[in-house]
Structures are given as C-alpha cells and as structure tokens.
Amino acid sequence: MKLKSLLSCALLGSIVSHASAETVIKILHIQSNSKIREIWQQAAQKFESTHPGVKVQFDYLENEAFKAKLPTLLQSSARPSAFHSWGGGVMYEQVGSGICQDISKSVNEGGFKDTFYPAAIQNFTVEGKIYGLPNDVAPIVLWYNKDLCQKAGIDPAQIKYWEDFVDAVKKCQAAGITPLAAGGKDKWPLHFYTALLMMRIQGKEGMEAAYQDKNGGFANPDVVKAFKFFQDFAALQPFQKGYLANTYNEAAGTFHDGKTAFHLMGSWDLVEGRANAADKKGLPDEKLGWIFFPEVKGGKGKANDLFASLDGWLITKEAPKETIDFMRVWLGKDIQTELAGPGLFIPAVKGTADVIQDPLLKQIAQEIDRTQWIEIAMDQLLGPDTGRVLNDMSADLASGNTTPEKAAKALEASWQQNKQ
C-alpha cells in the first residue's frame, strides 16, 4: 500500500512538473572566453525577463570534444536547439541527414536576415534554404612586426604582389631575421598559403568552377600553379626553425615574442595569439600592422577578396520556436555591439565594425563591409575529409614530400570520393 501511494505520488509529481516545465533553449557552444560568455549570459537574462516560461541554457564543450561528440549528440534525444558550426562540408552532411531546421521563413520576418553580412548568411544557406545564423567573421591577414620590418628595410605597405613578398622574405633573411612563423604540426595554418594563392590566381569564378568540378576540378593548372608557388616559397625556408613540429599556439607565441617579421593568421591572433606570447601580452598595437595577402601578377583574384573563418549557429529540427526569437536578441545589434566594442571578435552583424575600439581589428572589420567576396576557410568548406587532405598536402608541399601535380591530384581524388 505504502509503495503504491508513493509511486502514484511520484507519477503525479512528474506529470505536474512536466506540465509546468519551461521551454528550454539549449545552445551548444565551444566558446571558452569568459568575457564573451558573460555578455551571452546577459542576453539570456534579458530574453528570459521578457519571455516568462522560457529558459536559455548555454552548454560548453571543448573544441575537440565537441567535434567528437556532435554526430552522436545530434542524433540523440538530448539534441541541443542550436549548436556551433563552421559551415561548409560538415554542415552539408548535417543538413543532408535531416537534423537541421529550415529557418528561411522565420529569419526573413522583419528583415532579421538582412541585419547580417550577406556573405555570412550565404555560409549557412544550402540550396537556397537558410539553416543557421552567422556569429562572427575572422578574416586571415598578413600580420607584421613593425620594428623587424624596419630593421630589414621592408615597407609592408609596398607589398602588392607575391614577388614583392618573396623579396621581403629574402630581405629579412639577409638581415638575419626569421621571416615567418607557422604552426606546421597543426597543418591548417599552412593551408592558408595554398588556399590564398589559389584564390589570388583563379579568382572567384575559378574557385567556384573547381568546386563544381569544371575544368579539371582541383587538379586544374591554376591549382597546380598555386601549389608550385607555395613549394618554391617554402624551399626558401622562410619559417621559424622546426616549424613542422610547432603548433599554432607555439607559432603565434614566436611571432608575438617578436622573433619573426610576419605571421599569416586570422584576426583572432590579436587575442589568442597574444595570449601565447611569453609575457602573455604579445606585440602592442603600435608595433603591429597588417596587410592583405599579396596578389599574384596575372591572377584573377583581388587583394581584398577575403579569406575568412566564418562561424555561426545551426538550428536543429524540433528546436522550440522561441529559439529564433532569442537569436533576435542574442545576435541582435545591441548585444553584438557590446561584444564588438572590446574587440572580442568581429560580429557578422552589419554596422558593428564602427564601434570596435581596437584600431587594427576595426580596419579589418571595415574591409568586410567593402569586400566583394568572402571565401570560407577551405579546410572547413571542403568538409572534414578533403579539408584535411588539403592540410596534409600543404604540409607535404612545404616539406618537399610531394610535388604540386601529385598534391593537386590527391586533393581532387578525395573531393571526388567524398561527393559520391
């Protein structure tokens, strides 16, 4: 008797608690920066106060753990309402498996969609349908150390073409300065070179043709040419000693300790790169500058064609309908302005560039407004497998372990294999 009444009590209790349960918006992210998380939390509180019965819950997973757990998590009942995404190939897989929600209609309402940079929205669009919203844009630029450049007799502002850059590298070496830092163990920092050279040589149309397998896909002569440029460049030994065993963090530390003249890296280097310096501060603003990756003579790409990492949020199916309402607040101009001000990142929301206080980051952000074309980091866009093949090939080209022709063929073969 006792047990029975206890059971029925428990059952009743669960029904009652279920009935009064709040709608919970669960957001799975990989953001470890406490300042950013604080502002996000404020956005959640602001939203909760105007939407009784709705709760916003941020769940954190470390980057690698996130990648490993996501496929299982998304196919379980514990699926988050929205989750971090780099767009590109992985997103196509997720959308293809039917776990993402087409939010085109709800983000069109009130022109919410148009508050973001079009290129950023494009990154989360598959076959004309929008599945997610962008968070931030991080263009990859060529950072330089003003003191070291002066010492080597280089004026970075005069570096327009690839040849100028090669000359600058030689000048550095003549002056006994290590020209560049790169994290070759991680491999993706090296793919910035091969990808940017491809962009500068082929231009936007050429890149799109390669993705669509026209003119020989990624095995086309322009890609081979880009790989050849990079291999010849690496043969000059422009990178810090032992770069193939260094991670991004170690390489960023090397640059921000003032040991190399240049560093090809994303805008996050201002925050994350500096944190890896021996003194945790890195190069101060007045000693640091940036230029666009140089153009290639005769190439179709422009210097201000941006190559960027573009992160955002994908919405899952069965996510509460309040999720988009929350995004209007969270990814709205007010909150994003707050995030942009201290230079935590460059939001994908139009008009936030002007409030960025850090002058270097502000210049980069303003270029996003001006550019005609943002190319997404290729190791993301190509998907988890082919992306890594490109990274591998970049490292192998640098170490002389493959030829440009073989590398291009390997890339195209993997691209074909994964498109089946």
Partner: protein, 344 residues
Amino acid sequence: MALPTDPRSPGPKRPPVPTLTSNVQQGLPSLAEARELEVMLGARPSLWRRLQDFSGSSQMRACLLFLPPALLIFTLFVTWPVVEAAYYSFFNWNGYGAPSKWIGLENFLRVLNDPIFYHSLFNNLLIVLVSAFIQVPIALALALLISDKSRSSVIFRAIFFLPYILGEIVAGLIWRYIYDGNYGVVAVICRWFGQQAPEVLATEGWATAALLLVIVWKYFGFHMALFVAGRQGVGYDVLEAAKIDGATRWQSTLNIVLPLMRPVIVLSLFFSILGSLQAFAIIVALTDGGPSNSTHSAVSYLYNFGIKRMRVGFGSAIGVTLFIVCVLVMVFYKRLFMRPKEGR
C-alpha cells in the same frame, strides 16, 4: 519407485538416489538410475544425455548465475562493436543518419592501397623489434642486477619504474619539450658543444627514432618489474646447488636463471607486441603522426584518417583489418612460443 516389471530396473532393493528429476518424475527411472544403467551396458552417453546430466548439476546453477552478466557485458561491449564495425566497413558513411551508401569492399581497397597504412604498420613492427632487441635486454640486465632484496635495489627499482607510472600524454608532452630545438634540453646540450640543435620532431626519420626512444624509456620499467618477479621466482635451492657444484655467478645466470625465466621473457615479448599494437596516446602527444604522417602507428592512423575525418566506414575497415592482423599475430605467437609443455 520404478515398476518391478520394467526390465531396465536394477531391482527394488536399491535406494533411490534423490535428484531433482527423480523427485518430480515419480515412477520413471531417475536420471541417475538411467545413467548408471548406461554405464553398466557400456554405452557412451550421448551429447544430449550429457547435457541433461549437466542441467541438473550444481555446476549448471553456478553457470546460470554467473555466466549471463559476463556474457552480456562481453557481447554488448566487445562482440557487438566488432560486428557493427564489420557492418559499417562496407558503407561510405560519415556517422550522420543511417549508413546507406553500400560500396562493398571499396573501403578495404582504399586501406590496402594507402602507403601511409603500410608505413604505420611498419612503425608498429619497428616498435616490436626495438622492444625485443633493445628494451627487453636492457630491462632483463637491469632486473638481474637489482632483483635482490637490498635497500639500494629497492630504490633503483622504484626509479626505473617511475616512467611507467607517468601518463602517456604527460610523457609525450615532457619529451616534446626535451626535444624542442629552441629551448629543449637537447638543444641546450648541443649548444654546449657549439652545435646547431637538430629539429628532432620536425625531421622525418629523426622523429621516428625519437618516438622509439621515448617508448623504450617509458616501458622498460614495466618489463623490468616482470623480470624482477621472474628472477625472484627462481628457487634459491637450485642456485645453491649450482654454487656447490662450482658454477660461477655468470654460469649460473646463463645456464640456470635465464632458462628458468623463459616463460617470463615470452610473456614480456607478448606484452611488447600488444603494446605496439595499442600504441596511440604517446604518439598523439609527441608527434601526432607528423611530420608528413611518418610516425603514425596503426591505431593513430585509424584515429586520424577514420574518426577525425568523419569517415566511419573507412575507419571501420581499418579497424577490421587491424583486428585480423591482431588475431593472426596472437595465434602465431601462441603457437610458436606459449605452448604449455615448454613452460616450467
């Protein structure tokens, strides 16, 4: 009680043997009685009969009690994943949705056509060879030196065993710093001699050598501990007898101790092979397979090219191939070295 007319009945004088079945099936010959008759007639009990015998025994009850949990866990966590992996290996699948793109043996062909896979297996072989010809002899020599119970020996055993206690990731990271060409110990020592420090981990060949050194350093203590135990298991009386017969220490070590320690040495080599087939974390921490995928082991190859790249089908094919390799290696090793009659 059996009927007196039953020709098979051995007679009413025999007291019935109480068994589970005879209590239930009153009137029929009990299992035990039937069994006895069979023995009398000289008939070999059939499998079915033996099973029936077994079903009533206390052994059966013990099996019923203890076998299901073990069997369930083994099936759930060992057999089932292996079967599942074998199934996935026939698909081109990235882990999303249900596997649907059946590609037959394509994944296996890709594995078998990948030079990096063979290079990884070669690295596994290198680990075994280095372990057999460098690590095990060092561990054996040390064990023979410090297997007595003196205080200094105990201290040295603790010191030599220390690297084994360290986590693999920790060991890998420590050695990354040691090998670093800018501020590592190797670089500092090179500079003492006015030499430019080599970039050990960034150079192919050197990186493999560096990895092997770390593996020897990390695991020789484990083998040493095995040998110390094996050496202490050699009876004192045998050694004393040899001493009385006038054998020198060198002679008794070579002709008595080592032959008696053979089972331990065989076991130690077995662990080397096992360790090589499992080598993973230390590689990830030290080189992550680089430079140019030259330092992968079979498992780190699987992780990098299967799991990290979201190629579940391909990864499963690597896993299945590796499983077959493991089974073959173990079967041959057991056949060759671990025959019971060759033991003590």
